[in-house]
Symmetry: C2
Subunit: 431 residues, 2 copies
């Protein structure tokens, strides 16, 4: 039983799946049997997409930024989301968000003297990518007491400390909604971050892949681009890269490897280098490109699939919200465990106060206390969580990440196994 990643979950939006299948095999589009198998609007959408592809087939390389017609749809989706213009020429379609992050890191990092400000805890893609490209990770701590908020004064301290050591800090990574921490940053906090990046001349790398995953009524997603534009900041004021993926949201199509980055506020010379980097691998996969366009331009009111699409989407999101709440409550009821709300994303990141004896037992087998706990949990129950050490945490504190992705009907069993294990673990090691 896995509480680690979205590999265990199948979120399914049939409209998306239908369009993808039709685009793979467009010669069935006008067959009569197709109408019995596919919705009218999925057939229509597939026709529209195929018409936008030179050669009317998905088998050829595309433009290295992605098929222009699909980028048009994505830009329109961003405009509809933000209320500010988006330019299809700013969109780079990618095989998921990870290669996009690597691409930006490769462009930003020249040597170990170049630093990237990263949240701690962070999704380890960032530490891995910075290490791979030979740069320096400059950590800033998210404030657990403040619901994993981002404290600008800490950011500033870390920046100055790094600079005093001769590190040229080039960019700030913000993951919103947070991974592994599940928080949704407040609009005021986003404004402070924009202001900070502008003032300090930092590229803002905005990991916004969980933008559809919000589970609490008092929070909503605001893109950094929207916030910056609403503050009156344009192209010349802020270099901003927003990452989006088809692997998250209510669609969860991880295996399709689709995503994009929207790149704004760079000089033409830098843009040319980004394009050159994108072209080294020719193009991202076309199915992933199509799916990214569907995610940003789903069925609308009046379309044949709209009702089923909405029902699927609502069912998935409300189920995820229920799972988040049930797991959060269960975790908070455990001895020595506190857990912030899962406001968004797909994770909970509870803090666990481990007894001294448990920490010593971990040290005796040369492992960290949270890994010791997680291994014990796995062996005793089959439930997998990821130790906080994998994401970074304030030294001396211990956490683990668990996803909210197990099927709803399996959560009671997971909770009861976890609770029983935790009780026994504490009984064994309690000081």
């Amino acid at each position: 039983m896995w509480l680690t990643s979205s590999s265990c979950v199948q979120l399914l939006i049939y409209f998306f799946i239908q369009v993808l299948a039709l685009c793979d095999h467009p010669s069935i589009l006008d067959k009569s049997e197709t109408q019995g198998l596919f919705s009218a609007d999925s057939i229509e959408r597939a026709f529209q997409i195929i018409d936008q592809i030179p050669g009317r087939a998905t088998g050829a390389y595309s433009h290295s930024q992605g098929i222009k017609g699909l980028r048009d749809q994505i830009a329109a989706g961003i405009e509809a989301r933000d209320g500010f213009p988006a330019d299809p020429n700013d969109i780079f379609l990618t095989d998921g968000a990870s290669p996009a992050v690597h691409m930006m890191m490769q462009l930003l990092i020249r040597s170990e003297k170049d630093g990237i400000l990263c949240p701690i805890p962070q999704y380890p893609l960032y530490s891995a990518s910075i290490a791979l490209h030979g740069g320096t990770l400059v950590p800033y701590y998210l404030d657990e007491e403040a619901g994993w908020g981002l404290e600008i004064s800490d950011l500033k301290n870390q920046l100055e400390t790094a600079r005093s050591k001769g590190v040229c800090v080039r960019a700030l990574v913000v993951i919103n909604p947070g991974n592994p921490t599940g928080q949704v940053l407040a609009e005021d906090n986003l404004k402070q971050i924009v202001e900070f990046c502008k003032k300090e001349g930092l590229v803002l790398l905005a990991d916004e892949v969980y933008q559809e995953n919000i589970y609490v009524p008092d929070k909503q997603f605001h893109s950094f681009k929207k916030v910056a534009r609403s503050m009156g900041y344009g192209e010349k004021d802020l270099s901003l890269v927003s990452f989006q993926s088809v692997s998250k949201g209510y669609y969860g199509e991880c295996g399709k490897r689709g995503g994009y980055m929207e790149v704004t506020g760079f000089s033409p010379e830098v843009r040319e280098q980004i394009y050159k980097m994108a072209s080294v691998n020719l193009c991202s996969n076309i199915s992933g490109q199509i799916l990214a366009s569907l995610v940003m331009n789903p069925p609308k009111v009046g379309d044949e699939s709209y009702e089923s699409y909405s029902a699927e989407k609502d069912a998935i999101l409300s189920s995820l919200a229920k799972r988040a709440q049930k797991l959060e409550e269960a975790l908070n009821s455990l001895e020595g465990v506190t857990c912030n709300r899962a406001e968004g994303a797909m994770y909970l990141f509870p803090r666990i106060r481990l007894p001294k004896k448990a920490i010593e037992a971990a040290e005796a087998v040369k492992t960290s206390a949270d890994t010791f706990y997680a291994r014990r949990l796995l062996n005793a129950t089959g439930v997998v969580v990821v130790p906080g050490s994998g994401f970074g945490q304030v030294p001396g504190t211990w956490h683990f990440r668990c996803t909210i992705l197990p099927q709803e009907d399996r959560i009671p069993a997971i909770v009861s196994r976890l609770t029983e294990f935790h009780q026994e673990f504490m009984d064994e090691f309690r000081d």
Copy 2:
């Protein structure tokens, strides 16, 4: 009119397309209408594939090396091709061959002191990747007089020269069949290369993406693995990486971004690092993975689709052979142009002896003579070729690369435009 890349061509194998569409939308597999739209064996194959995927859907991340059941099929395909065992655990499925090449370069190159032996002319993915990862390209020249063969004595000279400059040469890249040069290396030549790599302790990076593209009866493809095993060399004798792609061959599904590398002869410690690199991007796209398995395990005699599949494949390959021959003849009939046979791959790389006046005219506009010629050709005729400078060539010689991919019925028009342009160009600049 493009003679540059496979972006212009649509090679289409319907069996592959059908299986991909069905795997995208497996819930139609058992609908009655599906039998009217899809062949029985494509439905059966899709069932088999879906059964091998945890969760029976293509929406989840896979194992970072790719879905095990698909790797089994690929390994079986390699065994059938080579007559020697292949291990599914040696297969890493990737988003096309390019990311696989980058991954190996990233692992091999620690600093500019690390060198990679690369053919000149070469497909510029290699020079780009070596530059990106901060290494040193150690060139060796293919021998145009010997049909772009690979001269071991030159290889040895280049290796020794590089070593004398303090470069640690770690690997040798061989592209067979050749890009941009179109040669198919003879088996004896492959044996010499294997022997050389073994003796010198070099990793052999074998770009074998054109393994299905052979157009002359006196040549055939031999994989380096088969050659090494037939020489009695096993895991411990040679570190070998073979790259394969779904973008070439008779299938040409460039937009699907599928491919794999077969990695043999590395220690468990190195293997672990390769796996770690692969896992940073989670997994390659599942459609590309499926297609790679289909390419290595196409319909067999007796399958419903076998005849149509064979007919499609033969038609594509024999048409490519005819196009290659027609273009080669046309090029060889031009004043000052000589062109080796296109034995394989998708390219011709004619040498063009440009008049002194043309070289001076190019210098006057600060460009290379081959680029000057290619630009003139483009402006006069709309035909695009790539100047040899993009691939590297013996200094003082000039070439261009043209693909053999234009539709067969368009080739006479292309030839006549090219011939007319060339005549006029030579008339304008003849010494």
